[in-house]
C-alpha cells in the first residue's frame, strides 16, 4: 500500500519533472544566491515547485533539498501541485520576524499532514547576512517515514533566501548532512 502510493507519487512527479544534473563548483540559484558544490546534485524542475528549486541525491521520494532564492513580499510558497495539494497556502512577507518565517516553513512542511517538531533554532550567518538555522524532525504522512531536517535562511532587502534539507533520519540524513552544511557555509547573497 505504501509502495503503491510511492509509485503514484513518483509517477505524478516524473510526469511533469525533468531531472538536470547540477555540477560541482559555483552555481547561481535564482538571481542573487550563489553556492559552491563539492560534488554533483540532481535538480528536479517541475512547475509546481516554484519559487523553490528541489535538489536531491537519492531521489525526491527519499531526500529533498529545497532552495529558495529571492522570495519577494507576498509570494506564495509552493502554490500548486503535489506538494501544495489543496491545502492552505503560506506566503512570505518582508516584515516577517525569524520565528514567523520558521513557522511558515513548518506550515509548508506539514501541509501533507506530516508532523513537524522543531528541535533547535539558533542564529546563523547565512549568505553573509544575519540569519538563522533550524533543525527538525518530521514524520512524512504519505509513507510514514521518520525524517530529520535542517534549514538555513536570511532576509536581504526584503527578499527571503533559504535552504531546507530533509531525509530519512537513520540512513540518508547522517550521510548527507555534512554536505548540506558545507553548501550552506558557501552561500553568498549577492547585491545584484
Amino acid at each position: 500500500m505504501n509502495k503503491l502510493l510511492c509509485a503514484i507519487l513518483i509517477l505524478a512527479l516524473s510526469a511533469c519533472a525533468t531531472v538536470k544534473k547540477i555540477e560541482s563548483g559555483d552555481n547561481l540559484v535564482g538571481e542573487r544566491l550563489s553556492v559552491t558544490l563539492d560534488g554533483a546534485w540532481n535538480r528536479l524542475d517541475f512547475p509546481s515547485i516554484k519559487p523553490a528549486q528541489i535538489w536531491t541525491m537519492e531521489g525526491v521520494t527519499i531526500d529533498e533539498f529545497l532552495i529558495y532564492s529571492g522570495i519577494h513580499d507576498g509570494q506564495v510558497m509552493h502554490p500548486e501541485g503535489p506538494i501544495g495539494g489543496k491545502q492552505r497556502n503560506f506566503a512570505f512577507h518582508s516584515a516577517m520576524q525569524t520565528e514567523e518565517i520558521v513557522s511558515m516553513f513548518e506550515g509548508v512542511l506539514c501541509r501533507d499532514n506530516s508532523t513537524f517538531k522543531l528541535l533547535k533554532l539558533e542564529p546563523y550567518q547565512f549568505g553573509g547576512k544575519k540569519g538563522f538555522r533550524f533543525e527538525y524532525e518530521r514524520i512524512r504522512k504519505v509513507d510514514n517515514v521518520q525524517l530529520r531536517g535542517v534549514g538555513f535562511g536570511a532576509v536581504d532587502r526584503g527578499e527571503l533566501f533559504a535552504m531546507i534539507y530533509d531525509a530519512p533520519r537513520l540512513t540518508f540524513f547522517p550521510r548527507y548532512q555534512s554536505k548540506v552544511e558545507a553548501i550552506a557555509r558557501t552561500a553568498v547573497i549577492k547585491a545584484s
Binding site: 495539494g85 489543496k86 514567523e100 499532514n113 508532523t115 504522512k141
Partner: protein, 387 residues
C-alpha cells in the same frame, strides 16, 4: 440491513439482548447486533477485502504515527468494547497522529481514530458517538455491500489502495467519491450508533453535538471544503439533517452519562502535542472556532487560550497582535501557565517596541524552559533588546 435479516439476527440473540431490544423498540429504535463474524473465505470478495485490510493493518502497526501510549489506547479500546460488547475481541483500536477529524473501521476489525478527532470531541460520550457510528457500519458490513455494488466497483478498487492514507497527497477527493457510504448506510449507522451508545450507558444527546460543532468549524473556512478539515465528511456525507435526526433519536433514548471527567483526565497530557499539530495546519479560522469552543466550555483553558494566542499571532491580520497578546497574558496569569505564553508576550512586545516588557517576558520564558528548542535564538533577541 433489511427487515428479515434484522428479525433473524434478533432471533439468534440472547435473552438479555432481547429484553433490551423490547425496551429499545418501545423507544422507537430497535437493533439487534449480529453475532461475531468469522473470517471470510479468502477466495471470496469479502475475503479479499479482509486480506487487504490485514496488510494495511500490518503497516499501520509499524507506523511512527501510531500512538503507543498504553493508557490512551486501552481507554479508546475500552470504549469500543463497551459499544461493541460481543464484538469486542474483534475490534482493534489504533490512535493515529493526524490533526483531522476522522475515525474509520475496516471490515476486518481495524479501528483507526485520528488525534484530530480526540482534540475535537468534548467528552467520552461524543467520542463514543463517532466510534458507535463506525461500529454500526462494521456490524452491518456496509463496506462489503459497497464492494458488491457494481456501480461502485471500480471506484472502490481505487480506494482500497488509498484506504488508510486518506489525507495524503490530496487523495481526499478520490477517497471521498469512492468510499462514501450512501445516505441509507449513514442513517443506519447513526441509528445503530445511538442504540449502542444508549446500551453502553452514554448520553445519546451528545452525538448531535459532534456534528453541530464540526459544522461550525467547517463553516468558518472561507469557501470551505469540509473534506479538507474532516476526512470523516469525505467518507461520510454529513448533511445538517443528520444532526436533526440524531437529536430526534436522542429524545427516545434518554439518560446516560457524558463522561467529561474521564475523557479530560485521559487526554489532558496529549493536548499540547495535538494543539501544536492543529496550529500547524494553518487553518486559522477553523482553529479559532475550535479553541474558542473549548475555552468557553472551560476545557484546559490556559492551554487553549495560549494556543488561540498562537493562532492570532501566526495569522497576523489586522488586530491579531492585540488579540494574541490578550490571550497570552490571560494564559500567563493562570494558575498553571504554559511557559510558551511568556514567549508569546515577549515576541509581541518586542515587535511593538515595548522593550522592558519584552525583556521581562522572554527572560521568564527562558527561566521556565531553559532547554526550549529556540533558546539560543531567543537569547539573541534578548541581547539586542538590552544592548
Amino acid at each position: 440491513m433489511n427487515r428479515r435479516q434484522l428479525l433473524s439476527a434478533a432471533g439468534a440473540c440472547c435473552a438479555q439482548a432481547l429484553a433490551r431490544q423490547v425496551h429499545a423498540q418501545a423507544a422507537g429504535t430497535d437493533y439487534a447486533a449480529p453475532h461475531r463474524f468469522g473470517r471470510p473465505d479468502v477466495a471470496t470478495d469479502e475475503g479479499g477485502l479482509w486480506s487487504m485490510m490485514d496488510r494495511e493493518e500490518r503497516s499501520l502497526r509499524r507506523s511512527p504515527l501510531v500512538l503507543r501510549d498504553e493508557k490512551l489506547v486501552s481507554y479508546v479500546q475500552d470504549i469500543c468494547c463497551r459499544l461493541g460488547s460481543e464484538h469486542c475481541p474483534d475490534i482493534r483500536a489504533y490512535v493515529v497522529r493526524t490533526p483531522l477529524f476522522n475515525a474509520n473501521m475496516a471490515p476486518n476489525g481495524m479501528m483507526q481514530v485520528w488525534t484530530g478527532l480526540l482534540l475535537r470531541v468534548e467528552n467520552e460520550a461524543q467520542l463514543a458517538a463517532v466510534l458507535g457510528h463506525e461500529i454500526g457500519h462494521y456490524l452491518q458490513r456496509h463496506s462489503v455491500e459497497r464492494l458488491r455494488d457494481a456501480k461502485s466497483k471500480s471506484a472502490l478498487a481505487q480506494v482500497l489502495g488509498a484506504f488508510g492514507a486518506v489525507g495524503a497527497l490530496g487523495q481526499l477527493a478520490v477517497a471521498a467519491s469512492a468510499f462514501a457510504y450512501g445516505r441509507e448506510h449513514e442513517r443506519e449507522a447513526d441509528r445503530i450508533g445511538a442504540y449502542l451508545m444508549h446500551q453502553a450507558g452514554y448520553d445519546v444527546a451528545e452525538s448531535a453535538k459532534v456534528w453541530s460543532n464540526l459544522l461550525q468549524e467547517v463553516k468558518a473556512r472561507e469557501g470551505g471544503d469540509p473534506a479538507q478539515t474532516a476526512s470523516l465528511f469525505a467518507t461520510h456525507p454529513a448533511p445538517p439533517e443528520r444532526q436533526a435526526d440524531l437529536e430526534q433519536i436522542a429524545k427516545s433514548l434518554p439518560g446516560g452519562s457524558t463522561g467529561d471527567d474521564a475523557f479530560a483526565e485521559r487526554t489532558r497530557r496529549f493536548l499540547d502535542d495535538w494543539l501544536q499539530d492543529e496550529v500547524k495546519r494553518g487553518q486559522y479560522a477553523e482553529s479559532l472556532v475550535l479553541l474558542t469552543r473549548h475555552i468557553d466550555h472551560g476545557k484546559a483553558r490556559e492551554l487553549m487560550t495560549y494556543y488561540r494566542g498562537e493562532v492570532h499571532r501566526l495569522r497576523g491580520e489586522a488586530g491579531d497582535q492585540a488579540l494574541a497578546l490578550a490571550d497570552y497574558q490571560a494564559a500567563a496569569a493562570s494558575l498553571d501557565p504554559p511557559a510558551a505564553a511568556f514567549r508569546g508576550i515577549g515576541l509581541i512586545s518586542r515587535q511593538q517596541g515595548q522593550r522592558s516588557e519584552a525583556v521581562e517576558a522572554l527572560t521568564h520564558y527562558l527561566d521556565l524552559a531553559p532547554d526550549a528548542p529556540d533558546a539560543a535564538f531567543i537569547k539573541t533577541y534578548l541581547a539586542e533588546l538590552t544592548s
